[in-house]
């Protein structure tokens, strides 16, 4: 047997049985690093962090656009993931499991910050400018900032459902999986959140179609 292959086999043999069952949905590199991470190998966990942090960073950018808070949130996701690693069953890709943790961490961040939130107004000028521009000419940075400011005016629960359903374009089922709500709850919450958003825009003087 090839020495590298033998070393790898020996490494995998140490991995708990539960981790072996991850094979069909979890990439091999993740399986090995999760197994080693469960055995206390911090370097293996560091590899997992490096591999997944760009996606987690993209996700957490929707929860905070402040550079320091954003970095803290990304860190918090991986710390929480490490603490809960033994609960990872491997029945879904590691990335999906991380997404659930990230949603929880971000939602908690919003809830904490909602208490200290200052009342803002709808960025109506930015909004009208962006909406009147051709989709391809819209400045992505400005669109992101305006969207964030608009969402920030909604309660965390409404904001979460709108971000997951319409910003990230997730299905009701996926949203339910990420939030831990029932699918009926997601539909109801989504309808209520849309209604609140509509009222917010109409109160700011925008005329909306039905």
């Amino acid at each position: 047997m090839d020495p590298d292959c033998a070393a790898l086999t020996a490494l995998i043999a140490d991995v708990p049985e539960r981790v072996h069952s991850m094979r069909p949905v979890v990439p091999d590199e993740d399986i090995e690093d999760i197994g080693a991470g469960l055995n206390g190998d911090e370097h293996a966990y560091a590899r997992l962090v490096r591999r997944h942090q760009p996606r987690v960073a993209t996700r957490m950018w929707k929860f905070s656009r402040d550079a320091a808070d954003h970095e803290d949130l990304v860190q918090e996701v991986f710390v929480q993931a490490f603490l809960g690693l033994k609960n990872y069953r491997g029945d879904a890709p590691f990335e999906h499991w991380l997404a659930r943790i990230a949603t929880r961490v971000g939602y908690r961040f919003w809830k904490i910050n909602a208490r200290d939130r200052t009342i803002q107004s709808v960025p109506i000028e930015d909004l009208e400018h962006l909406l009147s521009s051709d989709s391809r000419d819209v400045d992505a940075q400005q669109a992101g900032a305006t969207l964030h400011q608009l969402m920030d005016m909604l309660p965390p629960r409404d904001r979460l459902v709108l971000v997951l359903r319409y910003v990230e374009e997730r299905s009701v089922e996926e949203t339910a999986g990420l939030t831990g709500w029932t699918q009926t709850m997601v539909k109801v919450q989504s309808w209520r959140a849309r209604k609140k958003l509509r009222k917010l825009l109409e109160d700011a003087g925008m005329e909306l179609e039905r």
Partner: protein, 84 residues
């Protein structure tokens, strides 16, 4: 345009946005390594304090034992009041 179309237009534009790159690897490792290190530090403190408390306690115990096992204690105790 309704509220949903507004949301979708902004979302689709913001998807092209460059998200700031972050590298939290070292910070995560520092955090997940902390509980064990901190525990060791607490244990070291407890061990140090225990040792510091044990030395005077031992000295007092030896002295007490010496006083209590003094063979002339019985003899001198009736004269204690007179001496004072």
């Amino acid at each position: 345009m309704n509220e949903l179309e507004i949301l979708k237009k902004l979302s689709s534009a913001s998807r092209r946005e460059d998200v700031p790159r972050v590298d939290v690897c070292q910070r995560v490792l520092a955090c997940i390594g902390t509980p064990e290190d901190e525990m060791n530090r607490y244990l070291a403190w407890i061990a140090g304090l225990s040792a510091a408390a044990a030395v005077p306690a031992t000295i007092l115990a030896v002295q007490a034992l010496e006083i209590m096992s003094d063979p002339l204690r019985e003899f001198f105790s009736p004269f204690g009041g007179i001496l004072l």
